[in-house]
Subunit: 348 residues, 2 copies
């Protein structure tokens, strides 16, 4: 039964986890923001893997748009295998890891600290190896995550990044908007039973593409990762712009494309993209809070709550998490224990 799984419980715990996080981490994040300002940080280097790397993709847009900070995603092998790390002294180096245990991510932070860079980590384990290497530790307070596929720690990581961006911008409107997020996630979770039905249609889908752009580029990567981990679907994430530079050739009649398209300035771009998909007779599954956009879809998945675009990734991933859960169940896979994966992956 999918509803008795850890994964189901953890997906549905998200509103409460996000509320706890908002209550507890404001001061830690204010201290980090103060250090970023006083040290005149010009760019950010993020080290992360898997789901946490997708949270890093969100930071890439948020810190760029809101804080004017370019973001580089670290290349851990330069630190661990090539042993030729780049110069980081003037960067904020941010590690993101649920477990705080992956040796390659720990190595990036250790090197950054050695070079005198400002370091911070976002983790669910404040006593982890990774946390030991950082000037600032932001704890997720998500509680133990028992399903191998990360859900509540992903949205928590997004929330920390959003809170950091808003705090650094000293924008009262943004800080106030964060308070809406837990309730919005709770509202969006109302789609649970509908997604359980829709998942049946995709019992025999072997491949798909997942599209997002801008803030929701991260959502496309994370939804695709959930489908791979939980359902073994070959799910490939793309920005709508990158997809037009080559991979569009894949699309033919019935090819499934999931488009994550919440309201915002990027929406007209995605609407045009969905039209291109329709001309090529793709099967379009659209996640949106905008009715006109949903009307373009073969299968609409409605976000029942709207958030400002910069916060929309936190709600927009929820139907995808549920889709992963119920598609795994439709295929008689164990949603808590994907084949061949463990909760903590240690890579160097």
């Amino acid at each position: 039964m999918p509803t008795t799984s850890h994964l189901y419980r953890e997906i549905h715990e998200q509103p409460q986890v996000l509320r706890t996080l908002l209550d507890r981490q404001r001061q830690t994040i204010q201290a980090l923001a103060a250090d970023i300002r006083s040290r005149q940080i010009e760019y950010v280097v993020i080290a992360a893997r898997g789901t946490s790397d997708n949270a890093g993709r969100y930071a890439n847009y948020l810190f760029g748009a809101v804080n004017g900070l370019p973001v580089a995603l670290a290349t851990p092998s330069l630190y661990t295998i090539y042993k030729r790390p780049p110069r980081l002294a003037h960067a904020l180096v941010l590690g993101i890891s649920q477990s705080g245990k992956s040796p390659d991510i720990v190595s990036v932070l250790a090197e950054a600290r050695k070079q005198g860079a400002l370091t911070a980590v976002i983790t669910n384990f404040a006593d982890s190896d990774l946390a030991q290497e950082a000037d600032h530790v932001i704890e997720l307070h998500a509680g133990e995550e028992r399903a191998v596929a990360a859900t509540k720690t992903y949205t928590s990581e997004l929330m920390v990044i959003a809170l950091l961006g808003a705090t650094l911008a000293e924008d009262p409107g943004m800080l106030a908007a964060l308070e809406q997020v837990p309730d919005a996630v709770a509202t969006v979770l109302g789609i649970n039973d509908h997604v359980a039905q829709i998942a049946q249609r995709y019992r025999y889908m072997s491949d798909c593409v997942v599209i997002g752009r801008g803030y929701n580029y991260a959502s496309a990567f994370e939804l695709a990762l959930k489908l791979k981990e939980l359902t073994y679907t070959i799910a490939e994430p793309y920005s709508s712009a990158d997809f037009l530079h080559g991979p569009l050739a894949l699309i033919q009649h019935g090819f499934p494309v999931i488009v994550i398209a919440p309201s915002g300035v990027i929406l007209p771009e995605l609407q045009s993209f969905i039209q291109v998909l329709r001309q090529r007779e793709a099967e379009t599954i659209v996640i949106s809070d905008d009715q006109a956009t949903l009307d373009l879809a073969r299968i609409p998945l409605r976000l029942a709550a709207s958030l400002p675009e910069w916060l929309s990734p936190i709600t927009a991933i929820v139907p995808g998490q549920l889709f992963g859960l119920y598609l795994a169940a439709a295929r008689d896979y164990d949603p808590d224990h994907p084949r061949g994966l463990r909760k903590v992956t240690e890579t160097r």
Copy 2:
């Protein structure tokens, strides 16, 4: 006939194109290197799409390892749609585009110039819109590329990046090693007929994964893109480390995995990875110049020339280009005109 295609001709022109480039662009690149030094550039922002973005992935490793420069891949929508570009004044902003026409890439360079950043572009068209926005224009001299799928402009872009990294490092050994590249590519092209035979085996392959790490992370992305564009295979690229953080769940008996594993310090990592794939009974196709590594493969594709690891992406992509050509032919697709694509893709 695949051998009468533009794609075949352009793949086989690569040694000559690379020789021309080495002859003609040294001074331009020296001038750019001098500016990078005198302006004390601390990090690089790269704007590119498609194949050129894969060349940017190579730069990420090369500039990091050899020049100590962190690299951020630009997020063009921040410039074009959100209109909230990050601060770039202390960066080198590098645009890479065969055509120099994609409006989003032009926008990133225009903004960078407005902010007073050091700007450079790598393009096949010195009179393009993109070239107009740059302080330094490095021309590929690759001649017109008529096949839609880029090949000779990709290896030329890699060569420019390699030349820039070596010039900036003022390393005579590296500069000398560049001279070996055109002949090495010519030698590796000797695999042409073997790849033509092997491609038959994959006539009905619908999905695959392509793995590379470190310098050849870029090769995995580029090979996967060629397979998507030319053969409509759902080909997903990964670093071996990222693949272990979730997607490994996909692998079952017979799942095809192409591993790009030339000699170098990263090789033991990839050998271990191939062993994991063997345990899970994947079908492994291995591209390498190392016999022990090839011995681990179900289907070995031998690189007949060895280069230093930092240059190996220029030869390591060649069997993949040929594989794309011959697999397209095996499927009776036109290798010069993939469905739904044009040579110049304009995105914003």
